[in-house]
Symmetry: C2
Subunit: 175 residues, 2 copies
C-alpha cells in the first residue's frame, strides 16, 4: 500500500521549519513520499539529507500544481484523507479508512486550506478538535493507522542509527 502526504499552504521562510518537520514525520512514521506545494529546493534537500544518513526509501517531490496530484490520485483509485480540526474524530473513522486497503493520500495544510479540499477529500479527519499543529496531527494519524508499529520499523541502507540508551547518546556509524 502506498501512503503519501501532500503538504499545502507552505509560506516561504515562515513555514520552513514546520514543513521540514512535516516531511520528517511523514518519513519517520511510515509514509512513502511527500509532495510539497510551492516550496523551496532547500527544504527538499534537508529532508533528503536525513534519508541519506538514516536510510529508507522516502522521497520528496516539490510540486506547483497540487490539483493535478489529487486528480491523478483519484484516477488511480486511491483515497484521500484531509487532516483538519473541523473533521470527524480520528478514532471514529480510522478503522473504516484502514479497511479500504487502498493507497492513501494524506493532505496536511498550513493555517488556511482552500475550501475545495474539504469536498475533494474522502474523509476530513480531526486529531481532536482543538487547534494545535499539522506536525502533531500527521504523527498521530500515522501512529493510529499503523498501530504504533511504524515506530519500531528498521530503515534499510542506513549510514547511522541510534543504539537506544538510558543516558546519553549512542550511535552506530557505518563506515
Amino acid at each position: 500500500m502506498n501512503i503519501c502526504v501532500l503538504r499545502l499552504g507552505h509560506r516561504l521562510v515562515r513555514d520552513d521549519r514546520i514543513t521540514t518537520h512535516v516531511g520528517l514525520v511523514a518519513r519517520a512514521f511510515g509514509a512513502n513520499k511527500i509532495f510539497i506545494a510551492n516550496c523551496e529546493q532547500r527544504i527538499k534537500e534537508s529532508i533528503d539529507n536525513v534519508s541519506k544518513m538514516w536510510g529508507g526509501d522516502f522521497t520528496v517531490e516539490l510540486i506547483n500544481d497540487w490539483r493535478s496530484v489529487i486528480k491523478e490520485w483519484k484516477k488511480s483509485g486511491g483515497i484521500i484523507v484531509h487532516l483538519t480540526m473541523y473533521g470527524i474524530h480520528v478514532d471514529e473513522v480510522i478503522e473504516k479508512i484502514k479497511n479500504y486497503k487502498k493507497d492513501l493520500l494524506i493532505i496536511v495544510g498550513a493555517e488556511k486550506v482552500p475550501g475545495e479540499i474539504f469536498k475533494i477529500s474522502d474523509f476530513n479527519v480531526a486529531i481532536g478538535h482543538q487547534p494545535h499543529s499539522e506536525v502533531a496531527a500527521l504523527a498521530i494519524f500515522l501512529d493510529r493507522f499503523f498501530r504504533g508499529e511504524e515506530l519500531k520499523r528498521v530503515f534499510n541502507k542506513y549510514k547511522i542509527r541510534v543504539i537506544p540508551s538510558e543516558r546519553g547518546k549512542k550511535l552506530e556509524v557505518i563506515k
Copy 2:
C-alpha cells in the same frame, strides 16, 4: 497530577512556529502548563490567545533559568522525562512512568540539548529512534500517556468550539 512541559533551546525567530506548536500541542494533548526558556513575549501571547478563545486552564510561563525549574521540580518530588531519539522506546517505559502517579515534567529540546539533561532526567524516552520533530514527539508521548482520552476532553470556559463535520467548517461561537 500536574503535567508540565519544559521547552529548551528555542532559537529566536527561527523556532517561533515550532515553539508555538509545541505549546499548542502541550495544551491540546492535556498538559497543564509549559515553561519556555529564553523566548519572546509574543510566543506566550499567541498561545494564551488560543486558550482565551478555546478554553481550558493552560498556562505559559517564560523563564530564563531553566535549571531552577528542574531543581524545584525535583525538590517537590515530581519526576522528569526527557524526550530524545537516543532514549528508550516509549512503549517500553510508558507504563512504568504512569505507575509512579507523580507530577511529570516533560523536557522537549530543539536541535541540541545540554548533556546534563540526559543525566538529570529520570527517563530519556524515544518516540522511535529516527530524527523527526519535538512537536510530534510531545504529541505521541502525551497520547500514549493519556491513552488517547486527551483528544476527547472538553475544555471549560470556551468562547468557540468545533462542531465535528464530514465536510466544511462548523463552529459554535458563544456570544
